[in-house]
């Protein structure tokens, strides 16, 4: 089953399983996304749970691979005090011209994108020079015990929903050609708020 179908299938229960994460990370996400400005590209909208953590008054283009997820995100978009439009699109092949956006934002997306560096290179392409990449992602831990747990669990999450728990997303951001300005630990050294610049 491809990624799109997997996410279409879990759309109904997605909010339920992410509720705990949102309770834990809501405040930190609000703080991280305060830096959003200008035209925004939000990759991996999902059911739109993170929209509540974005500052009001922005011009946001949200993309996702799953139509079912985007359907569920619509009511959240309506409540947002700003402009939001959704597009059905793959993060690895963005249908936007070069230098379109001022900020690209993601929440737990590059653990799932099949070719993360290719996806991040696309982000760089659509960002204007000096544009910001704001990622809120989980990555592989450098601690041996936490790392082994993540490696083991990654076998299951990858098979079930294509989520990799053992990716070095900070390094991938560098590989894609971004300058990493900051990487803040949110939970252990696993959940991070990453800031990159084109």
């Amino acid at each position: 089953m491809d990624q799109r179908n997997k996410y279409d299938q879990v759309a109904k229960v997605f909010d339920f399983f992410r509720k705990g994460d949102m309770r834990r990370w809501g405040r930190v996400q609000k703080d991280h996304f305060k830096q959003m400005h200008g035209k925004i590209l939000h990759i991996g909208v999902g059911t739109g749970m993170e929209i509540i953590n974005f500052p009001p008054g922005l011009d946001i283009t949200g993309i996702d691979l799953s139509a079912k997820m985007l359907e569920r995100a619509l009511w959240r978009a309506k409540q947002y005090q700003g402009k939001i439009r959704f597009c059905l699109m793959n993060a690895e092949t963005l249908a936007f011209p070069d230098d379109t956006f001022d900020t690209v934002a993601t929440v737990c997306v590059f653990c799932t994108v099949a070719h993360p560096v290719a996806g991040l290179k696309e982000c760089k392409r659509v960002l204007k020079p000096g544009g910001k990449l704001l990622l809120f992602e989980h990555v592989m831990s450098k601690n041996l015990i936490y790392g082994l747990s993540l490696k083991f669990m990654s076998l299951f999450t990858n098979a079930l929903e294509g989520t990799h728990l053992d990716r070095d997303t900070v390094e991938n951001v560098r590989k894609a050609g971004f300058k990493v300005q900051s990487e803040k630990n949110v939970y252990l050294d696993i959940v991070k708020a990453i800031e990159g610049v084109k």
Binding site: F17, D21, R24, S149, F152, M153, S182, K184, L188, V191
Partner: protein, 130 residues
């Protein structure tokens, strides 16, 4: 107080209370389950391996039950460590036959609390270290 009201209060408790509480309960539940499954006449090493295996299976069940309310990573990391260590130790203790089941469960709970505390301080250090 109704069950749904109790559940509501538990779910909306502060994470500083929830995290050690889930650690204690997970440790005690895994230890109790292993002590009920492993027979007293088993070889210690076999009991340890099977205990660890039972712990890992229970880890997935507890993860599915707890993660939606308390966060995937904040549940998964401590639970992974608790499940393996408590499962193995409880397996060995059960095979000995001389340790009461209650004592095994309490030990599981204490290990759960210790792991939760260790991760709490590790998290504080890692989040401050930037």
């Amino acid at each position: 107080m109704t069950i749904s009201r109790s559940l509501y209060i538990l779910i909306h408790m502060n994470f500083k209370i929830i995290d050690p509480l889930t650690g204690i309960c997970s440790g005690a539940i895994i230890a109790f389950a292993v002590s009920q499954i492993i027979p007293t006449d088993w070889n210690m090493f076999l009991a340890m391996a099977v205990g660890g295996g039972i712990g890992m299976v229970l880890k997935f069940v507890l993860l599915l039950l707890l993660a939606p309310f308390f966060g995937a990573f904040e549940v998964m990391i401590p639970l992974s460590i608790i499940a393996m260590s408590v499962g193995m130790l409880s397996g060995m203790a059960s095979a000995q036959g001389s340790v009461p089941d209650g004592c095994i469960s309490v030990t599981g709970g204490i290990i759960g609390l210790a792991v939760s505390a260790a991760i709490y301080f590790s998290n504080k250090k890692l989040v401050r270290l930037q």
